[in-house]
């Protein structure tokens, strides 16, 4: 067998093999036309090899010419398929080059069949039989070159230029990649074309050997394609692995999501398709298979919130930012859940949004808690105002609106000082800052009277409790405001009534003293009247003693003054006013003596004898003289009354004073009825009395007075008979 035949056959076989392989590959991947193009080239290459073998073995000129003619077909196929391959595979190479190459080649083909014998030769004169080694002879054509062959050769040149352009483009794009195959393309095609051109132009006398470099070309291309295939296989494996990993992650996430109440979703924006896990689909009421668009997913959103969500998405697409939104969804069963939506948008190179991925987190619990909080605040019977750390009002309830006369909208966002009376406003800001420094739940303004200001400027007294609330947005303060106008009114009323009561008691005592009073007043009146009437008689005499008259008038004046003072003292004693007032240093013994003078007559009236045992040199006490007189008066009169049913000889009242343990003590003892033991505790209560006609006020007033003097008052029953009332006053320091 001739080695030429073997060699050429092997070449053809190789080409066909490659063609076959890649044809099969293309069959598997119909969309990858590269492989088909390559197959074509390979088939063309095989055909070319066959033709070249035939040429080498050609015996006659006619044979040679015909074969060479038909050889143009596979050449055309190869060139065109190479161009297609480069374009498909590299996606490079200027299109006009590609078209020129193909165009020229087609022209060459047409011309080829126009000319006889063919495009390459005008005329083949004879065939040289050149002997090669191995005893083989090959035919080499000798003849006149057809000048139109330049068309063909130009197309080949352009092909090479095309290759170069493509390679450079690819190299620029990807650096290393494509350099191999590109340079191989250039190299082998240069060799092949060069050789053919030289043969055709008769410069060298060897047969056409383009087939072999062409195999090299094919090999390079095949190599590239195979590494591609390998890469694809690797990718496929990696994909599988990553898919598995992804599924793992997904499952993990699903687990987390299921527990956490999170719905994960992805929205393919160009295709408007929303991905949701099966579980979430079920949760939201979608079937497993139905295609979900953005709008169809929004079916689950509460009708009132749909517009809001749509706008939010639109805004985030426009601003390319991540926007959070809170809204309600209605899940199967009619239940409403609050969700917060957080999403992130991915954009492609051109800036178009391609993916939006996000989560929906169930915040129903939080929302319910907020709602409950709001309801509690709203329903609170006191006014609730919440302010932030800058003192701006954030939240008010209906009671605040009622108290202050503002509507909610007028308050929210305003400084809280608008509710404070003007004179306190400047200090209030300072107090606020102080509170923020040490925020605790406590009443506001300890020791101060607090007032609040209504919209119309009027004020009302309040009590305020402060509660700090720590939120992620900072420290808020919740103030609860209670209107204490009523309470204050009641307190004032209470105080007024107490005063009335005290006055009533004094007036009652006044009544009890009437005897003494009448007597006290009558004395001066008597002397005044008698003096005046004496003067009248003296004046009627013939001789008037002026000295006598003068004396009379002086006495009248003196008596009147005395009476006036007496009345004044009594008026002061029984005047209705608050206590205590007019404090000063008091010698308690003097008070005792004063009182005894006052009641002297009454005692005589009732045949009561008064004993006094007053300690000498008692230290002074601080107090109101008049009030202490009242107390003694009361106690003494009480003592007398207690002895109403006693024998006159038994009617003795003893008043004693002493210094005891740093306090001045006074006791009033009678020998009348004792105080029943079970009533001992109650004797000082208002309206408590053991007297048939008593009002029970005297002792309670005494109690109040002594307490106001920081003293003590108490009663004991005497061992033999009667009771003793004691009171004690602290000594003046």
């Amino acid at each position: 067998m001739s080695w030429i035949t073997i060699l050429w056959s092997m070449n053809a076989a190789a080409c066909l093999t490659l063609a076959g392989i890649y044809l099969l590959v293309w069959c598997k991947q119909r969309e990858s036309w590269v492989y088909l193009a390559f197959s074509f080239s390979a088939v063309g290459g095989a055909a070319l090899t066959a033709f070249e073998l035939a040429l080498v073995r050609a015996q006659t000129v006619e044979q040679y010419g015909a074969i060479l003619r038909w050889a143009q077909l596979p050449i055309w196929a190869v060139v065109v398929s190479l161009v297609i391959f480069v374009r498909l595979y590299f996606r490079a190479g200027r299109p006009w080059l590609a078209w020129s190459v193909c165009g020229l080649r087609t022209l060459a083909l047409i011309l080829n069949f126009v000319f006889v014998p063919n495009l390459s030769y005008r005329q083949i004169t004879h065939l040289n039989q050149v002997s090669w080694w191995g005893g083989e002879t090959v035919s080499v054509p000798m003849g006149v070159t057809n000048p139109w062959v330049l068309v063909a050769q130009l197309s080949l040149l352009l092909l090479i230029v095309f290759f170069i352009d493509a390679t450079i483009t690819v190299w620029r794009r990807h650096r290393k990649r494509g350099l191999v195959v590109g340079s191989a393309l250039i190299l082998f095609s240069l060799i092949a074309v060069g050789q053919v051109v030289l043969v055709v132009w008769g410069i060298i006398t060897i047969p056409f050997l383009a087939a072999f470099p062409f195999l090299g070309l094919l090999a390079a291309m095949a190599y590239e394609l195979s590494s591609d295939m390998l890469r694809a296989g690797q990718l496929a494996r990696e994909l599988k692995a990553s898919e598995a990993a992804l599924r793992n992650t997904e499952r993990g996430m699903e687990l987390a999501v299921n527990t956490a109440g999170i719905v994960v979703w992805a929205w393919d924006i160009p295709r408007d398709e929303v991905w949701l896990s099966d579980k979430d689909r079920a949760l939201l009421g979608f079937s497993k298979d139905e295609r979900l668009s953005a709008e169809s997913v929004r079916r689950v959103i509460h009708p009132e919130d749909r517009e809001y969500v749509r706008n939010t998405v639109k805004r985030s697409l426009e601003t390319r930012g991540e926007i959070e939104a809170e809204y309600r969804v209605v899940i199967p069963g009619g239940k409403v859940r609050w969700m917060t939506r957080r999403a992130h948008i991915e954009f492609d190179d051109t800036g178009k949004p391609v993916w939006e991925r996000g989560v929906l987190i169930d915040i129903t619990e939080r929302k319910l808690a907020e709602e409950r909080f709001r309801l509690v605040v709203e329903a609170a019977p006191s006014g609730m105002v919440m302010a932030n750390s800058e003192g701006k009002i954030i939240l008010v309830n209906a009671q605040v609106e009622t108290f202050f006369g503002y509507t909610r909208d007028e308050l929210i966002g305003q400084p809280i000082e608008m509710l404070v009376p003007k004179r306190f406003q400047s200090k209030h800001a300072g107090f606020r800052h102080g509170y923020l420094g040490d925020a605790q739940a406590r009443p506001m303004g300890a020791g101060r009277e607090l007032f609040a200001r209504r919209k119309d400027g009027s004020e009302f007294p309040v009590e305020i409790g402060l509660n700090p609330i720590h939120t992620p947005e900072g420290l808020f303060v919740l103030a609860s405001i209670v209107d204490i106008s009523e309470r204050k009114r009641a307190e004032l009323e209470g105080a007024r009534q107490r005063n009335e009561l005290a006055h009533l008691s004094r007036v009652t005592m006044l009544g009890e003293l009437s005897g003494s009073l009448a007597h006290e007043l009558n004395q001066p009146l008597t002397s005044i009247l008698s003096n005046a009437q004496a003067a009248q008689r003296f004046l009627a005499d013939e001789v008037v003693d002026l000295n006598e008259l003068r004396e009379i008038l002086n006495d009248i004046v003196a008596e009147d003054t005395r009476a006036g003072e007496m009345i004044q003292r009594l008026r002061v004693l029984f005047k209705k006013r608050e206590m205590p007032k007019h404090t000063g240093d008091i010698d308690i013994n003097k008070v005792v003596q004063d009182v005894l003078k006052l009641v002297g007559n009454d005692l005589m009236n009732q045949n009561v004898t008064m004993d006094t045992e007053l300690a000498q040199n008692l230290p002074a006490v601080t107090g109101d003289w008049i009030q202490l007189e009242l107390v003694l008066l009361n106690l003494v009169l009480n003592g007398c009354e207690a002895m109403e049913d006693c024998e006159p000889s038994d009617r003795r009242v003893r008043v004693a004073s002493e210094l005891d343990n740093g306090a001045v003590g006074v006791s009033v003892t009678d020998r009348g009825e004792s105080i029943p033991e079970e009533k001992m505790d109650r004797v000082f209560e208002p309206f408590f009395t053991t007297k048939a006609e008593g009002m029970g006020l005297g002792l309670s007033v005494c109690h109040t007075i002594i307490r106001a003097h920081r003293g003590k008052i108490w009663a004991t029953n005497n061992l033999d008979r009667g009771a003793t009332f004691h009171f004690e006053l602290p000594v003046n320091r």
């Binding site: 005897g515 009448a518 007597h519 009558n522 004395q523 001066p524 009146l525 008597t526 002397s527 005044i528 009247l529 008698s530 003096n531 009437q533 004496a534 003067a535 009248q536 008689r537 003296f538 005499d541 006598e548 009379i552 006495d555 003196a558 008596e559 005395r562 002297g600 007559n601 005589m604 009236n605």
Partner: protein, 210 residues
């Protein structure tokens, strides 16, 4: 005009514990022409008072120590006829009733109008004068009676019953002439001119006939 200080001039005695009142009342009474003596307490008055002095007593009812009522009782015990006028600040009805029942002449309230007081005092003084005169007369009658012998006394007793001399002689078993003599002596000693007068005298002195 100052009062003539006669030994027997009626004196108004004032007892009141309040000095200004004492002074004023004294002035008033002096201005009205009375002789006044003022005392600060009943005790003082009792200690110094001469029962024989004529006049009347102006007394404050409520005083410490012995009060007015007690003084009234004390005086009564002593046999004083001094009229008492009570003065008081209290217009106490029970007390006034009690006072009047105990023999007070009047009960006035302070401040006292001069006319009322003076009128009362005049009445009192008059009453006192009359009382004293009667007392004096009585003493005189008793003195006269004391000058009678026992026999004359007997005769007197019979004469005032209206018996005739003859009857008396029979009763006493003596001759009528003796009776006549005794009778004349009685008439002379008793300083009366008729039996009727004698009867009146004896009745006044309270001598009962047997």
């Amino acid at each position: 005009m100052s009062a003539v200080s006669e030994p027997d001039a009626p004196t108004v005695f004032i007892v009141d514990d309040e000095a200004p009142v004492r002074k004023a009342l004294s002035r008033l009474l002096r201005a009205a022409g009375f002789v006044v003596a003022a005392f600060a307490s009943p005790g003082e008055f009792l200690a110094q008072h001469d029962l024989h002095k004529p006049g009347c007593l102006v007394l404050d009812l409520m005083m410490p120590g012995i009060n007015g009522m007690e003084l009234q009782r004390a005086l009564a015990r002593k046999g004083s006829v001094l009229p008492i006028i009570f003065l008081t600040s209290h217009g106490d009805i029970p007390k006034s009733v009690q006072a009047m029942k105990s023999g007070a002449l009047d009960f006035l309230t302070k401040p006292v109008n001069d006319e009322n007081l003076l009128a009362s005092i005049r009445v009192a003084i008059e009453k006192d004068r009359v009382a004293r005169r009667e007392q004096a007369e009585l003493r005189d009658i008793r003195a006269r009676l004391a000058t009678l012998t026992p026999r004359e006394r007997e005769v007197l007793d019979h004469v005032v019953t209206g018996k005739l001399n003859k009857q008396i002689a029979d009763d006493l078993a003596v001759v009528e002439k003796t009776i006549k003599v005794h009778r004349a002596h009685v008439m002379e000693k008793m300083k009366v001119r008729s039996v009727a007068e004698l009867v009146r005298l004896t009745e006044r002195s309270g001598i009962r006939s047997q």
